[in-house]
């Protein structure tokens, strides 16, 4: 009897499910099917949103003796399988006691001075489902786990000072820093820094989004910066936390 009532309720809630006993699939089994195969939103249908906007803070862990902090504003455009986005970030760079000690000696360490970054991002969801929180008064949320890739273009505004528009533009669109550019940046860089020539960095990693039913998004991203495109920096990590909202 109880089994029949359950089937009736299920049929009422989900009319597409057949009511015959042979076709009945237990609810936990149905839920499990949605985890591990990204495809259907259950708690919050973020795919139907036009834009996802974020404010991020992060720290590139560059494995050198300089501290870098990064804040960014980003917007993402969801679609069925792939989400693209762009953003603008400010990277603040500081010397450390270790770097200051290096500066006293005839040694230098590769690094990147303070800069702006233009960021192009892509996300490919690979796992998705409903998650609950502890303590349990918090409402359940939609979790999306994605593979992520970033291309970041570094902009050094001080390179434009003292240049005419043409040279400033050329300097801006160049994919590498020239020696003259580095000489110009050197006074404001930490004393122990050997400025890296690359102006483009490519990162890959994972991204985790938690969507609440109200559209609030909590984001975390763990990326690995690849040592390509002429950079002297070895592979290093980049960790980001973000808060966003789905519009």
């Amino acid at each position: 009897m109880i089994r029949k009532i359950s089937l009736f309720l299920l049929a009422f809630l989900c009319p597409s499910v057949a009511l015959s006993a042979e076709d009945v699939v237990p609810f936990p089994a149905l839920v499990e099917r949605t985890v591990g195969v990204a495809g259907k939103s259950v708690r919050f249908d973020w795919r139907k949103k036009k834009n996802l906007i974020f404010v991020n803070v992060g720290q590139p862990v560059e494995y050198n003796n300089f501290e870098t902090y990064r804040t960014a504003a980003a917007v993402q455009f969801p679609s069925e399988n792939l989400t693209l986005g762009f953003g603008l970030a400010k990277a603040l760079v500081f010397s450390t006691a270790s770097a200051d000690a290096i500066a006293l000696m005839p040694y230098r360490q590769a690094g990147r001075p303070e800069r702006w970054e233009l960021e192009l991002s892509g996300f490919y969801p690979v796992a998705e489902g409903v998650v609950t929180f502890r303590p349990d008064f918090m409402p359940a949320a939609q979790m999306v786990f994605s593979l992520a890739a970033d291309v970041r273009y570094m902009v050094y505004p001080s390179l434009f000072s003292g240049q005419d528009f043409s040279n400033g533009f050329k300097s801006m669109i160049a994919t590498r820093l020239s020696e003259a550019d580095k000489d110009k940046l050197s006074p404001s860089a930490p004393a122990a820094m050997k400025i890296d020539s690359a102006k483009i960095s490519v990162l890959t990693g994972f991204n985790l989004h938690l969507y609440t039913s109200g559209g609030l998004i909590v984001s975390s991203k763990a990326m690995l910066a690849l040592s390509i495109l002429g950079t002297a920096m070895p592979r290093h990590a980049d960790l980001t936390l973000g808060l966003g909202y789905a519009l």
Binding site: Q109, A110, L147, R235, A237
Partner: protein, 676 residues
Amino acid sequence: MKLNGLTASKLCAAFIALLLQSCSKVPLEYTPAEFQVAQAVWYEAEQTLFFFWNVGSPLGLRSESVFEVSYVNDDGQVGWMAPQSREQVHIHESVSCGAGRICGSASHKVVKEPRALSFRLRYHRDGEISAVVNPESFVIRSGAAHQNRSFVVYGVFDESNSFVQWRGRHVFPALRNEEAQALGLRRPFEIKDQTYGNALPTNPDNPYLYGAEAACPQSYIQAGVDALVRTSERAVFNQRGLPAAASAADSVCASATVNDATGSFTATAFARKNPETRAAFSSLRSPVKGTTSVGFVITPCRRTISLQHLNMQKQRLLLQSPVEICSDDFNQADFKDRMSAIFQERISQVRAAGNDMTLYIALHHDDLTKNLVLKLEQALAEILPNERARVSPRVTGAFVFDSIQHVVTNPLIKNLALWCPAALVDPKVDPFAAPDESQRSCPVLPDGPQLNAGPVRLSSLPILPSRQSYENFLGKFSEVNAGKMNSLTAFAPQRTAISTDVSLGDFAWVTFFNNERVTAGNGEFFSFCAADSKDASRIYFRTAAAAQQPLPLSNLPSVQAVAQGGSYELGLVWDFPFLLRLEYTFYLAGSANAVVASVPFGLSFNQQQSYGSSGWTQQEFQIDRALLQCTRFCLHPFFDESGTYSARQTWRDAMQTNCYRPRFPRPPEGGFPVDP
């Protein structure tokens, strides 16, 4: 956007592979300091120790790095210190030697000789790690001002030789003037008591004449220019020019004062005027005119060889009413004399018209023994060499249109007669024989290559063919297509009554037309610049002492520098006495064979050609930029194209075969002139 399952799997696999790569720390890079300049110079007379440094590192130094010096002398030890931190004897500007480099100069008062000099670069002002070097150290003892002091003063003039620019020059044993300037050293100096005169001191060891005299010569007159001129740069112009009375004076003398650690030092400084130059000779003119044609036809009168060919020869030479010379009895001994007499008679008649002449001779014959052509050569040899040397009107030369190809053998007319068509000398017979003018102008060519395209044949004939070529052509094509001479003019220079020729071997003459000459007084010299005149190679000169040995114009400066003064006659070199200009119609002849008949046709082209000496196309040979004459101050130094003052060289010696294109300083330019 949707990805299919396979693509997504591959993407995930690649992604994970990337993440699995390990991370490593950023290495430290060693970037030691490297000194490019590390010098210390102590001048005993000035009691001044100069420091010069220029240091960098592979990855660049930063402003936190500090350059320091230390030394010892009999007064004690001076420990490590930044040299700029002490009181300076001279002005030292902050300079940049490029990003990532630290450079500069300093000057300390040091009374006693310094020893154990050391330089170091401390990598950071807060650190103790440094790169230490022993600098190049020099001690300059007291002595002559121009050799034993760190700064000399001299003067130069502007282009007008009226305004003096006073200049200073750093003198260091291992550092150039401009290097010391680039490292920030500035030496103020001032000039007073300027006088002018003609008593320049001479001392080959003192090229700038700094301190060459204890005081300016008594004979010098007050210049009446600026009472005081001073600068802390390296050059400054007088505000006022010299008076006209100073035009002949070769120099200005003044008192130059510079500072040092002992106070000030005053010595004499001289400014030498620039060599005054002008074009030695503007252009050599030689009027060139078209000559009068004197026509002859040499042909058998009692038989006919080829009327068509004879008519062609007459047409090619444009002979209207030529004198006909019968060659039936050319084997007779007096034939050459008879021929010569006829030539003379006709020339005499035409000469009365007053124009230069050229003989046009159509030689129609079939003599393969060459007796006839040799007799014609002999007859021409009796006339042309004599005529060549005559005053205009004269016979400039001869143009012989032969029936058979021939090479002129008589050396007397080889360069006076164009003989067409000319045979080429087989290089196997004489590989060193240079072709004469005839061989260069109208060499006999093989019959025009014939192009056959089915029933159509195409060919062409040279405008001056041999009889055989002509007849071969007529055998296949029409006479109309053999070509036509439209005009034929010979140009030659007019000679004057005093024109003289000097032979330059077998191939050329130099003609001195009308007493064109350059003269030089004592103290005057010449400079030859081949780059500034394409005509200069055609100009020769001779002296009265060597009238038969003309030399190229390029030799004039060196010859004159030895001879001093003198008079040099200029002449034109030439290898052929006239230029023959031909304008003719040339045909690309064709014939098309129909079934029963051949249809000739031709395409005509007008063409122009010149035989002989191309030099006779111009009447004026510019040498104003090729030959300069220095009229005053020729033993003075000079400015070159870059504006560099060659203090040790004289114009006379340096400019004999160089182009003099000076760049003078211009008032009120000061600053830092080129002075390496």
